[in-house]
């Protein structure tokens, strides 16, 4: 490892620790801890959303997928970006108007019931854990590769850092880590894209022309079909991307960190532009890596293609750019896992301990303490699982997280806001049907079963051919909620009218008492 690499890593770690120390002095209430006191401005929250959104899977994963599979890799960029519209049009504002810290808060604004809250918290924790393990295993492998240290040390470093941010600085520190990371990531991506374009004489059409001969796939590289050959599987994956994102707890939590709906909207504009521009640039990262690094070298460094972007940086910008990009990748992982710990901790401490076990009778001091204990619990569990999962192919965990988010969380969010007849029985059945069907369908999918040894966890024929079963599990989640609602006679229209008025007007006592 070179001196410049050490310099960039130490600079990033140092900077984030200073922020955490500064944020820790401002974190005294539960609201500070979970939502930074709702005090972020539009552009700050917009950058933080982008920081949460652009995970290592986006940066390293998509660049690698485009490099290896051409257009098929770009499906992810399109899916994640359009997903933003689902969040914006259907979920964000009602969630904000009804909720406090968590998804369960929002659902229980209509159904004040321990079973509903418990099930929502359960689905949140399940998603967070699966997503976390995938991120941590990826992080471990990456840092192992970059710094040449053992996997378990790498996981412990990331785990220790993320716990420090969350534990001492709460959402304020986590948000600022995400903001810094978003800026660094954009800077790195723009620099690499510029260098790639320069190689092609600043001509997009030259770039496309040269890409038809740059890889061994020929002109097929520029069209879909290199990786995804099964139509239904492609469709299913794109459904998971677009609907799953709107149910991811750590993304939803970011809408509570601003003071009002208008600020939330301005943050969304910032985030949509940043995220969109980033995803456009993934084309240059991927094409550049395919042309100037080459498939063999990309696969030799990491079979999944995760090293494509750092290797491209090295090829075009030498040691300094390589070190910078590696440090940015490290910051990316830290920011995303810190956000995940917070959303997992909020479900565990606020929903399960604070609202279900203590029935809301909990002092501010106890809430903050519970939030910290919850963070440590989530962090320790995920680190232990990640240490055990080193040799596991974890790609299925991400598809599982997206599937559960789209199948268990999205139906219940939509029914809660838009369906008058919906009731507690429907809410519980919607979440359980989505959760269980996603788990079962992934368990019998080609991610888990493959006839070729070493390709999946078990050797054998999968029962379904969909690598991402959202095509089946999302409709099942909606159907489960529908049937569950109709089977129960209970309904409370006056409570729905209250939710409807709050969701549509944003009215609350705080707003109008002055």
């Amino acid at each position: 490892m070179s001196f410049t690499a050490i310099f960039f890593f130490v600079a990033i770690v140092g900077l984030t620790l200073v922020i955490t120390w500064w944020a820790s002095k401002r974190t005294s209430s539960a609201s500070d801890f979970y939502t930074a006191g709702g005090g972020l401005t539009g552009w700050q929250n917009g950058l933080a959303i982008a920081g949460d959104y652009l995970s290592a899977a986006s940066f390293l994963g998509i660049a690698g997928a485009v490099a290896l599979f051409g257009f098929d890799g770009f499906f992810f960029s399109i899916g994640y970006l359009v997903a933003y519209l689902v969040v914006l049009y259907i979920v964000a504002e009602p969630l904000r108007n009804l909720g406090k810290f968590t998804l369960a808060d929002m659902i229980t604004a209509r159904f004040n019931n321990a079973k509903v809250r418990g099930t929502a918290a359960l689905s949140t924790i399940t998603i967070v854990l699966f997503y976390m393990i995938a991120q941590l295993v990826g992080a471990g492998a990456l840092i192992q590769l970059l710094l040449g240290i053992d996997y378990w040390i790498a996981v412990l470093i990331v785990g220790f850092m993320m716990t420090t941010y969350v534990l001492f600085g709460g959402m304020t520190a986590t948000s600022w880590v995400q903001i810094i990371k978003a800026c660094l990531l954009m800077l790195g991506t723009v620099i690499i894209s510029f260098l790639v374009l320069k190689e092609f004489g600043f001509s997009i059409s030259t770039m496309f022309k040269e890409m038809t001969t740059a890889t061994d796939s020929g002109a097929a590289y520029l069209n879909p079909g290199l990786k995804y050959t099964d139509g239904l599987d492609t469709i299913s994956m794109l459904i998971a991307l677009v609907l799953g994102t709107a149910g991811l707890p750590h993304i939803l939590m970011r809408f509570f960190t601003v003071k009002d709906a208008q600020t939330a909207r301005s943050s969304v504009i910032w985030a949509t532009w940043i995220v969109g521009i980033f995803y456009v640039l993934t084309i240059f990262l991927g094409f550049g890596a395919a042309a100037f690094v080459g498939k063999e070298d990309i696969i030799a460094a990491n079979a999944a293609g995760n090293m494509a972007a750092p290797l491209l940086a090295e090829a075009l910008g030498g040691d300094i750019l390589f070190s910078f990009v590696c440090a940015v990748a490290f910051a990316t992982i830290l920011a995303v896992v810190a956000g995940l710990v917070l959303s997992g901790a909020s479900a565990l401490s606020h929903d399960i301990y604070g609202q279900i076990i203590k029935k809301g009778k909990i002092t501010e001091k106890e809430q903050v303490l519970a939030a910290r204990i919850g963070s440590i619990t989530i962090a320790v569990i995920s680190i232990l699982l990640a240490l055990g999962a080193q040799t596991l192919n974890v790609a299925f965990l991400v598809s599982l997280a997206f599937c559960i988010a789209g199948s268990a969380n999205l139906p219940v969010i939509i029914y809660t806001i838009y369906w008058k007849r919906f009731n507690t029985a429907g809410a519980v059945t919607a979440m359980l049907t989505g959760l269980i069907s996603a788990l079962v369908l992934v368990a019998i999918s080609p991610n888990v079963w493959n006839p070729v040894e070493g390709k999946a966890i078990f050797v054998g024929e999968p029962l379904i051919m969909l690598t991402n079963p959202a095509l089946i599990s999302v409709p099942l989640g909606f159907l489960g909620g529908f049937i569950g609602t109709l089977l129960s006679k209970e309904s409370d229209e006056s409570k729905y009218r209250e939710v409807d008025v709050k969701a549509n007007t944003g009215i609350s006592v705080q707003d109008v008492s002055h």
Binding site: L81, Y84, V86, I204, K209, R265, T272, E498, K502, G506
Partner: protein, 112 residues
Amino acid sequence: MANNQAKKGVVIDYDAIANQESFKALVRRKNSFLWSITAIFLLAYMMLPILTSYTEILHQKAFGEITWVWIYSAGLFIMTWGLCHLYVAKANSFDKEAKAIIAEYENGGGRL
């Protein structure tokens, strides 16, 4: 929520607001706007894998070596940015109506 209402002894009569014609009209227009746009962008999005999986239309060259699938994808990006701004503009105008609805409720003797 109950604990909000307990604060300062304020009770909002949500049923009264929900029964105002102005509120019903806002919700109707808002929902038809949100859901019709959602249907449009989800359709435009889902047409991409359907077209690429079952037809060869998007595999043809559009400009130089750039095939139609890239043009279609670029369209989805532009659509996302455009609809994001449309949403914010619309939501700001809905906000004004919501304020008017609350004012109407207060003037009608409703307590906040």
